[in-house]
Symmetry: C2
Subunit: 338 residues, 2 copies
DNA sequence: TTGTAAGCGTTATCAC
DNA sequence: GTGATAACGCTTACAA
């Protein structure tokens, strides 16, 4: 260390000054700090990692979600939240995009086995995820965005309260005077769909309303066409006067269908996608706060890495209803019509 | 090294096997490789960095462009291109988001001074950029997306050929039979605007047409409102029969204006934004290929880091015209009407 | 063809 | 309070 020479002390003393050790005299601290300033000294990250056995770096595995990248701001927003949070604690972020799941695992392994990172964040939680599978077999802390299966016992996770979010949405619609709010969801075996459907039902119950199965449609996918078909079916067998959709794309499909049929109902979607925000009529939607999801995932992970002994291994992030044209005016209905 | 023990050789031999040194017998290579396999050995990145004096990591500085993140897929696409390219050469990527320019410089310095990275990629090139200013004063290779000022002599850069892209756009419009194509641009002192305007003029000249200054409008900004005003002005003082816009948002404003006035002209924008792709009528636009820009930036930088002695310090990335509804049908006009 | 030993820049342990 | 010294895991002369 040149700093050591310049200030006439040993390297160990310099190290102690860096860590502001209490057993170093103020005088030498001054001197050493001046030398550091003068030489523009900054500690070498590799040397530190080597001796400390930690990198203060987090690895991000980003899935191969082609189009989603273009139309959904989710990933970039989450990456931003992660970055901002990590900075607060002096952590760095490494990321890599993959083309398929085996490649994801490959990069994951590289990060871990070569000691590039101390912990991992997975941007999505999937069923039978090979990354989680791998991570469960190791001792590397990791966090997931989404609620993982119970068998992934080591996972830290962040998620929205999908039940509550949908409960609030439906309550909002009902309290504006609507009587026959339909539920339009995606794949029925996905946990988001199930949770949101539960929220829908509970809201109806709370309002003293019966559940009409004809008002519930779960599509085989999340495309606009699925929403379109769903709406067609719903109209065919019941008389909805509003739609709570578990996804924006489904909601957009439903709107398309209504347009064709020449009428419009209040609609609320989920995920606050760009398409919903732009298309006319602009779609009211529940924002899942990707930035917060990212930030909290990073927070949980870093706390664990820093050895904070908290028993919580998850965090629920509040959603936010963005009201746009598809619910414009329905607040007027709050005033009971007599 | 446990591998060394297990295979009964010295650590240096193991190291040589890793690097496939020609001076190691095939027999020992076999043995050592088996041992590595057996123990699941992978070299420690920090130790390597320390001894080699390089990290094989690239740092990404992402600017504070608030809304752009939501509406423009540019950043995430570029980050993806960078990641994919870096993987090919065994490089890692670190990134950090910043809230303002001073913060950008702060993170930049941290990356460099603590030896976290070997090189830097700046996602945008701005005038009087403090990051570039800093980098010019150091010996760290860096690449920029966009064409930097001449005084940033050390910068590697990638950019589209904005002159050519606009030349092609206008040629396309003219050859479809249009006679009075208007130019709608942003801030006139920005190089993109100037280059694209030059392309516009050159295309007219090539077609033997005079340049009518009344058909040229450069707005004070890049918002939709600027495009709206621009179109209004253009209509007021000339009779355009088509619009070549240097930006999608301007083009969208122009379309809004036309809609109000009850007519429509062929329009082509730039940057292939999501809004243009979604709004009706969908906007034809020149895609600047953010993924390619990112990939090529990474490529240039890594080549330099690996010591390849090439004299090229830049790369031009081809644009791609995405034809949508605002130019639907104009190809018919290719057939000369008699 | 392989081994020995020094060194990369830090931190931690022990001494004084 | 401060300084030696070893160690982290790897690479690379230099020896053999």
């Amino acid at each position: 260390m040149d700093v050591a020479k310049l200030s006439g002390v040993s390297p160990s003393t310099v190290s102690r000054v860096i860590h502001d050790s209490s057993r170093i005299s103020d005088a030498t601290k001054q001197r050493v700090r001046q030398a550091m300033e003068h030489l523009g000294y900054h500690p070498n990250a590799a040397a530190r990692s080597l001796v400390r056995g930690e990198t203060r770096t987090i690895g991000l595995i980003i899935p191969n979600s082609e189009d989603d990248l273009f139309f959904r701001p989710f990933f970039i927003m989450a990456m931003r939240g992660i970055s901002i949070e990590a900075q607060k604690h002096g952590y760095n972020i490494m990321y890599s995009f993959s083309n398929n799941e085996p490649e994801e695992v490959e990069f994951l392994k590289k990060y871990i086995l070569r000691n590039h990172v101390d912990g991992i964040i997975l941007m999505v939680s999937r069923e039978n995820d090979r990354c989680m599978e791998y991570l469960e077999g190791r001792d590397v802390p990791y966090a997931v965005i989404g609620h993982p299966d119970n068998r992934y016992a080591k996972a830290l996770w962040v998620d929205n309260d999908n039940f509550m979010a949908m409960y609030d949405v439906v309550t909002r619609l009902l309290s504006s005077g609507l009587q026959r709010v339909a539920f339009l969801g995606g794949l029925p075996d996905m946990s988001v769909t199930r949770d949101r459907l539960r929220g829908y039902k509970e809201a109806l119950r709370t309002h003293g309303m019966d559940i009409d199965e004809d008002l519930i449609y779960t599509a085989p996918g999340f495309q606009e066409s699925d929403g379109y078909e769903g709406m067609k079916t719903l109209i065919g067998r019941s008389h909805p006067d509003g739609v709570a959709s578990a996804d924006d794309l489904l909601a957009l499909g439903a709107l398309e269908c209504m347009k064709e049929q020449g009428f419009s109902l209040p609609v609320i979607g989920f995920n606050n996608t760009i398409k919903g925000a732009i298309k006319s009529p602009t779609l009211s939607s529940v924002d899942i706060r990707p930035d917060q999801l990212g930030a909290k995932a990073a927070d949980l992970l870093i706390k664990k890495l820093m050895g904070e002994e908290t028993s919580v291994n998850f965090c629920i992030v509040d959603t936010q209803l963005i009201e746009r044209e598809t619910t414009a005016g329905i607040s007027f209905l709050n005033i009971p019509r007599t």
